[in-house]
C-alpha cells in the first residue's frame, strides 16, 4: 500500500519541507560556497525540476491509474516543437507561444486518449509505444515544419521573451521553480481528490469500480489528458531552457528513460518520480565528469534499486512490507 500525501509520515513531511527549502535556497548557497560552479549547478537544478515535473506527469498515468505509457515523451516533445516553431518562425509573443504549446500538447493527448483509453496493461503499453514512434517519425520527417534531424535552434531566451528585466540561470531557475511548485500543488490536489482516489480504485480493480457505477473509461481518458497537459508544461520549459528542439526529445530512449525515472523514484507517490528524475539527471551529469564508465554505474543503480527498493526510492524502508 502506498501512502497518500494526507497520511504522509512526519519524517517524510520533514524531508519534503527541507527539500522545498533547499530548492529555494540552493542557488544563493551555491553562489556563496562555490562561486565558480554556481551557474552550472543552477542549470542542473533547473534540469532536475523540468524532468521532475515530467516524471510526475507520467506518474498520474503509470502510478495512479496503472497505465504504463511508453510514448509519454511525445507530448513533452510536441509542446517543445510548438514553442520552437511559433517563437522562431512566427515571432509569436510569449503568452501566445506558451498557450499554444500547452494547447497543442493537451489536444494531442485528448486525441490520442480516444485511441488508447479502452485498453490496459501490455496493450496500452504497445499502443502508446507505437503512437510515440509516430510522433517521433513526424518530427523527423516533416522537415518544412520541424527541420528534421537538425531540429530548430535559435529560440529566444525565456527571460527576454517574457519581458522581465533579469536574465541568466537564476531567474530561469526561479521561474521554473514557481511553475514546478504550482504544478506540484495541482497534482497533489488532483490525486487526493475523489477523482484521484477513483483513479487508484481503477488501478486496483477496474471491474469493482465499474460495478460501483463509475465510468472508468472517462476516468482513464481524463487521466491521460491531464498527464499529457503537465508533460506539455515540462516540454515548454525544456524548449526555452535549451533554446533548441530536436527529434531526440520524443524518441523511444527519452520515453523509456522517463519510465525509469518514475520506477526508480516510486510510482504512485508523486514525490518519488520527482526524486527519481532528479537522481538520474544528477547521476548522469556528475558521474560522467569523473569516469568514462558512467553508464556502468547508472546500470548498477537501477539493478540495486530493483533488488533492494522495488517500490522505489521514496518507499525505501517504508512500512508496506507487511502487505505480503
Amino acid at each position: 500500500m502506498e501512502e497518500t500525501s494526507s497520511t504522509l509520515s512526519r519524517r517524510k513531511l520533514a524531508i519534503l519541507i527541507v527539500a522545498f527549502a533547499g530548492l529555494v535556497a540552493a542557488p544563493p548557497f551555491f553562489n556563496l560556497a562555490l562561486p565558480g560552479l554556481a551557474s552550472y549547478s543552477v542549470g542542473l537544478l533547473t534540469e532536475m525540476l523540468i524532468f521532475g515535473l515530467l516524471a510526475m506527469s507520467l506518474d498520474i498515468l503509470l502510478g495512479y491509474t496503472g497505465m504504463p505509457s511508453f510514448g509519454h515523451a511525445g507530448f513533452f516533445g510536441v509542446a517543445a516543437y510548438a514553442v520552437a516553431v511559433l517563437s522562431t518562425r512566427h515571432h509569436a509573443g510569449f503568452w501566445l507561444t506558451v498557450a499554444m504549446g500547452l494547447a497543442v500538447g493537451t489536444l494531442l493527448s485528448a486525441a490520442f486518449g480516444l485511441l488508447v483509453s479502452h485498453v490496459r496493461d501490455v496493450y496500452f503499453l504497445m499502443i502508446t509505444l507505437a503512437l510515440g514512434m509516430v510522433l517521433w517519425g513526424v518530427s523527423y520527417r516533416w522537415i518544412p515544419m520541424t527541420g528534421g534531424d537538425n531540429g530548430i535552434s535559435g529560440l529566444p531566451r525565456l527571460e527576454s521573451h517574457l519581458g522581465i528585466p533579469w536574465s541568466g540561470p537564476l531567474p530561469f531557475y526561479y521561474l521554473t521553480l514557481i511553475v514546478f511548485l504550482a504544478c506540484c500543488a495541482l497534482l497533489a490536489l488532483l490525486v487526493n481528490s475523489p477523482f484521484g482516489l477513483t483513479l487508484k480504485g481503477i488501478r486496483e480493480s477496474e471491474s469493482r469500480m465499474k460495478s460501483l457505477g463509475v465510468n472508468t473509461w472517462l476516468h482513464r481518458y481524463l487521466s491521460y489528458v491531464i498527464s499529457g497537459a503537465f508533460a506539455s508544461i515540462a516540454g515548454i520549459l525544456w524548449a526555452y531552457y535549451n533554446r533548441y528542439v530536436s527529434p531526440t526529445y520524443l524518441d523511444l530512449t527519452a520515453s523509456s528513460e522517463l519510465f525509469l525515472m518514475v520506477t526508480l523514484g516510486g510510482p504512485g507517490t508523486l514525490v518519488g518520480p520527482a526524486i527519481g528524475a532528479g537522481a538520474i539527471v544528477l547521476l548522469k551529469n556528475v558521474i560522467s565528469a569523473y569516469t568514462e564508465r558512467w553508464l556502468l554505474i547508472l546500470g548498477a543503480v537501477y539493478i540495486l534499486t530493483i533488488l533492494w527498493a522495488p517500490q522505489g526510492l521514496w518507499n525505501l524502508g517504508g512500512r508496506h512490507r507487511s502487505k505480503s
Partner: protein, 417 residues
C-alpha cells in the same frame, strides 16, 4: 515543525535578498600561468562512439606530440560524453564552460549537435572548433562568429566530384542512394548541382532511413540503365550496403561511386573485395602520399594500432589549428576577441590533408581528393587519383548568389541555368 518552518522562512528571506545581486555576477578568471583548458564534447558511448573516439584520439595524438604545451602554457583537456544526443551535448557544454571554465571548446559529430550548440556557444562567447560537423548552413545562411569549422561542408567535395564524374569518368546518367537525413541531402544535392550543370542527369534519388538494416528493397529499385550509382552511407550501413550491392550482381554491371565517408577508413578495414574500385571524394585520404600525412599515419598507427579515419585526422588538424592560434596570441587566450581573430586567420600548410585556410564565412578552403579503393600490400586503401586544389564551400559560384539559393534538401532541384 515550527523550528523547521522558521529555518525555512529565514532561508527564503536570505535567498530573496541575494537574488538581485547575483544575477549578473561572473566568476573570476584564472591567472595567465594556469593551464589552457580545452573542453571536448563528443559521443564516447552509444551508436556513434567509434567516430567520437576517433575524433578524440586525433586530438590527443597531436597534444601528446607537443607535450601538452603551447606558447609556454600547459594544455589541459577535459572530455565529456554527449551520446550524440543534442540536449545532452548542451548540458555537457554548459558544464565545460560554466563549471570547468574552459578557454576553448572542440568536438561534436552530428549536424543536430552542431546546430544545438551553436546558439549557446555564440551567447557564451567561447570559441569552439567543429572538426567534423558538416551541416552546410553553419557557415552559410546561419553562420555565427564563435564557431570555427576546420572540417568541411557536406556538399563541398561533392561539387568537385560532380564535375569530375561528368568530365573524367564520362558518366551521363547516375542514380543516387543515400541515408535520409540532412547530411545525405547536402552531399547528394552538391553532387547533383554540378553534375547536372555540366550536362549529366540524376535519373533517380533513393533515400534509406538512417536505421536501415536490409538494402534489398532499395537496390531492387535501381534502374539498370544508369552509368553509375552514387552512394552515401556510414559505419554499419556502409558495410551492409557494399556487401548487398555485390550480392545483387550490381557491382559487375554498374560502377559504384559515392561520398567519401562511404569508404572512409573507419569502415574500410572491415570491408572485403566488394569495395574494390569504388570511387569517392573527400578532403582527406589516409593513403595520401605527402610527408605530413605519412608521418601522421605512422604516428597514429603506432599509438592506436589502426589506420586513421577522416574523423581522426579532423581533430588532429583541429588541435593543430588551436595550437597555431594559441601561439599567435602568445598564449593569452583570455583575450577572447584576439584569440578568436587568431583562430579565424590561421593558415596551415603542413596538415595531413594538405593546406587549409578559412574563407570569409569561416569554412575551410582545402583540397578535395578523388579516391579509388585499391588493395595495396594486402590492405584496402583510398588511393588518390585526382586532386582539386583549394576548393571552397561555394565551389565556383559567387557566394552571395549561392546563399540566395535554398539549402540542399530532400526535394532539391537544381536551379534553371
Amino acid at each position: 515543525m515550527r523550528k523547521i518552518a522558521a529555518v525555512f522562512a529565514l532561508l527564503t528571506v536570505v535567498s530573496a535578498a541575494r537574488l538581485g545581486g547575483l544575477a549578473g555576477q561572473t566568476a573570476p578568471r584564472p591567472p595567465a600561468n594556469d593551464p589552457i583548458r580545452v573542453g571536448f564534447v563528443g559521443p564516447l558511448s552509444g551508436a556513434y562512439a567509434q567516430n567520437g573516439r576517433d575524433i578524440q584520439n586525433g586530438m590527443l595524438l597531436y597534444f601528446e606530440q607537443i607535450g601538452f604545451q603551447a606558447a609556454g602554457r600547459k594544455i589541459e583537456v577535459i572530455a565529456e560524453d554527449d551520446e550524440a544526443i543534442p540536449a545532452t551535448s548542451l548540458t555537457k557544454a554548459r558544464k565545460l564552460i560554466e563549471r570547468d571554465q574552459v578557454d576553448v571548446m572542440a568536438g561534436a559529430l552530428l549536424s543536430s549537435t552542431g546546430y544545438a550548440l551553436a546558439p549557446y556557444i555564440e551567447a557564451s562567447q567561447i570559441p569552439m572548433i567543429y572538426p567534423v560537423v558538416s551541416a552546410d548552413d553553419l557557415t552559410q545562411r546561419l553562420r555565427g562568429q564563435w564557431i570555427i569549422r576546420t572540417g568541411w561542408t557536406g556538399s563541398q567535395p561533392n561539387h568537385a566530384f560532380g564535375e569530375y564524374a561528368f568530365h573524367t569518368l564520362k558518366l551521363k546518367k547516375v542514380a543516387t542512394i543515400a541515408l535520409d537525413y540532412a547530411f545525405g541531402w547536402e552531399s547528394v544535392g552538391g553532387f547533383q548541382r554540378t553534375f547536372e550543370a555540366e550536362g549529366g542527369q540524376i535519373s533517380q534519388k533513393i533515400w534509406c532511413p538512417v536505421s536501415v538494416h536490409d538494402f534489398a528493397p532499395y537496390l531492387a529499385q535501381i534502374s539498370r540503365d544508369v552509368d553509375a550509382v552514387y552512394a552515401l552511407f556510414l559505419g554499419r550501413s556502409a558495410l551492409q550496403f557494399m556487401r548487398q550491392y555485390e550480392e545483387f550482381g550490381l557491382k559487375k554491371r554498374i560502377l559504384l561511386i559515392g561520398a567519401g565517408p562511404t569508404t572512409d577508413e573507419h569502415v574500410l578495414p572491415a570491408m572485403g573485395d566488394e569495395a574494390l574500385g569504388v570511387i569517392t571524394a573527400l578532403h582527406y585520404s589516409a593513403a595520401l602520399d605527402t610527408p605530413a600525412n605519412r608521418a601522421f599515419v605512422a604516428a597514429y598507427r603506432q599509438k592506436y594500432n589502426k589506420i586513421p579515419s577522416y574523423y581522426a585526422e579532423s581533430m588532429y588538424t583541429g588541435a593543430k589549428w588551436l595550437v597555431a592560434a594559441i601561439e599567435a596570441v602568445g598564449g593569452r587566450v583570455e583575450d577572447r576577441a584576439a584569440f578568436l581573430q587568431a583562430l579565424r586567420t590561421v593558415k596551415l600548410t603542413d596538415l595531413p590533408r594538405g593546406p587549409v585556410e578559412l574563407d570569409d564565412y569561416g569554412n575551410p578552403i582545402e583540397n578535395v581528393y578523388v579516391r579509388k579503393v585499391e588493395r595495396v600490400n594486402g590492405a584496402l586503401q583510398n588511393t588518390v587519383i585526382a586532386t582539386f586544389p583549394r576548393v571552397s564551400q561555394f565551389w565556383k559560384y559567387d557566394p552571395a548568389a549561392y546563399l540566395r539559393q535554398p539549402l540542399y534538401s530532400r526535394q532539391y532541384v537544381p536551379p534553371a541555368p
